[in-house]
């Protein structure tokens, strides 16, 4: 009789402990970064390039670089990913061929980012002779993000009840009309959310841009797609491990990490807000 209650309580508390532990670890990391980084952050830090062998100054070129490369990633991954997802979920027959494609896409989303980085070097930098530049990095990150975008978009499309499609078709709508007016409006929030989360992940990646376009130090901003750029994650990596005066620049490394985290968190927050807004509109 009581044994049942004890097991219940035991299980309950074990689960609570799991959540608590994870939360604690996250908080510790955040606290460490915020407390050590916040002191360095200033308006000048955010708006000026590094100075004196990167021991002083700010991280402006890295912020801009990350911003540009993320936009490039989106330009490639969003339309292509959504298009693929719509085709796979709405048009393609369910046969061996499409199943293999789908499985490959799922597997690709688990490929380590360094593999994408090296692939990008071979394909874009060398074979296509684009050189190490913003474009090559954007394309590489785009490739890496595609499987995420496709999978998230497909899930969003799957959530739309079949009856919306059948109902539209039965009223003399063409397949595309049915998709455009009765499927996409109810899946777009999920598609966008998944896409933004994928982009946020791309924005924080180092390996894919390491060999394809990110620069150690540039005193100026890239003026075209074919120039190298600085990026927050790579800058952080250098400041934390590769700099000659590593102790001196430690606060800069922490501040860079903080900026990166804030950037990615705001992207994720944006995704959440967007989903909320679109859901609300859908209900009206």
């Amino acid at each position: 009789m009581n044994k049942k209650m004890i097991t219940e309580q035991l299980g309950f508390w074990t689960l609570r402990l799991c959540v608590g532990l994870v939360g604690l670890i996250l908080l510790l990391i955040l606290f460490d970064i915020v407390s050590k980084g916040i002191g360095t952050i200033s308006w000048r830090f955010l708006t000026q390039p590094p100075k004196n062998g990167m021991t002083e100054g700010g991280i402006f070129p890295a912020i801009v670089g990350t911003f540009f490369v993320t936009i490039l990633t989106a330009v490639l991954a969003v339309p292509l990913g959504m298009g693929c997802a719509i085709y796979l979920n709405e048009y393609a027959d369910d046969n061996i061929f499409t199943r293999i494609i789908r499985m490959s896409i799922r597997n690709l989303s688990g490929v380590p980012s360094i593999v994408y980085g090296l692939f990008g070097v071979v394909l874009f930098v060398q074979m296509m002779r684009i050189g190490t530049c913003l474009l090559a990095s954007g394309l590489t990150l785009g490739l890496m993000t595609l499987p995420w975008t496709i999978t998230a978009s497909e899930e969003a499309l799957k959530n739309v009840p079949q009856s919306y499609r059948d109902g539209a078709l039965a009223l003399g709508a063409t397949k595309w009309q049915a998709i455009k007016t009765n499927v996409l409006p109810y899946s777009i929030s999920g598609m966008l959310t998944g896409t933004i989360l994928g982009l946020a992940r791309a924005a924080g990646e180092t390996a894919p841009i390491l060999f394809t376009g990110a620069a150690f130090f540039l005193p100026f901003l890239p003026k075209s797609l074919f120039e190298q750029f600085m990026a927050l994650p790579y800058h952080l990596y250098i400041m934390a491990t590769q700099h000659h005066a590593i102790e001196t620049v430690r606060p800069i490394a922490y501040a860079t990490a903080l900026v990166l985290i804030v950037l990615i968190c705001s992207m994720n927050m944006f995704a959440v807000v967007l989903r909320y807004k679109l859901r609300k509109r859908k209900k009206e």
Partner: protein, 252 residues
């Protein structure tokens, strides 16, 4: 003299290897109600969904034989399926309003068929809602979500939606099976009204309903059309014993 609207000759239908409809022959008369009855899985809905080729959306299906609408083969290669579905409207078993306003639900079919003229759409929406006996209940809240309606109202909304594009034939797949008796009565009354303008094919599990509303009844079993006749004959003096057994509820 009765006019034939749909003529079905030696019609067979397969889901992969499963032979779902076997050599079905029957004529559906214009401006009459054909009730289709039979035990679950007998092919009633499959038959219905072939008339507007909704089964096309299911992979691995195959049809043979002919099904003619006004003499035109529904399964011909040059058949414009989109146009066919405009001519042959459908009301599903589970009411499926779109997550849009009441107005936009009814206007949907008009808009996808290219009727964007505002006045025409408004006029047609009102006419269709009246046709589906829903106008009085919703006229003051056309912009409200269709999901705010009750189950019976939602089903009538789906009927209005189908009427808006002026179909010639109306297919109904157990339209009242999820409704309470009052809502069912309303739908049945509506069907009597609608047959003046449309040819109606209705699948139903409810014997009394088939007897009440249909002019002709087709009894399907295991994919075969067992008996097809005027409703009165089927229910009072069926030719086959098995039909009688089913109707009187001895199995099914």
């Amino acid at each position: 003299m009765l006019k034939t609207k749909i003529e079905v000759k030696d019609f067979n239908f397969f889901y992969g290897d499963q032979h779902a409809l076997k050599d079905v022959n029957l004529n559906i008369c214009k401006n009459k109600v054909l009730g289709i009855i039979g035990p679950s899985g007998c092919g009633k809905s499959t038959f219905l969904r072939n008339i507007n080729r909704m089964n096309d959306t299911i992979a691995g299906t195959r049809a043979s034989g002919t099904m003619l609408i006004d003499g035109q083969n529904i399964f011909a290669e040059n058949m414009d399926v989109v146009e066919l579905r405009r001519r042959v409207g459908m009301v599903f078993q589970k009411s499926n309003p779109f997550p849009k306003s009441i107005f936009d639900n009814v206007a949907y079919g008009l808009r996808v068929n290219g009727r964007k003229d505002k006045e025409y759409v408004e006029h047609k929406v009102e006419e269709s809602l009246k046709g589906a006996a829903l106008w009085e209940e919703v006229k003051d809240r056309l912009q409200a979500s269709a999901f705010d309606l009750s189950g019976g109202q939602q089903q009538r909304l789906c009927i209005a939606r189908a009427l808006a594009i002026e179909p010639e034939v109306l297919l109904m797949d157990e339209p009242a099976s999820a409704l309470d008796p009052t809502a069912t009565a309303k739908i049945e009354e509506l069907i009597q009204e609608l047959k003046k303008k449309y040819t109606i094919v209705i699948v139903t599990h409810n014997m009394q309903q088939a007897a009440r509303i249909s002019d002709y009844t087709a009894f399907f079993m295991l994919g075969e059309l067992v008996e097809y006749n005027e409703t009165q004959k089927i229910f009072t003096n069926p030719e086959k014993e098995i039909t009688e057994e089913y109707i009187t509820g001895r199995f099914g």
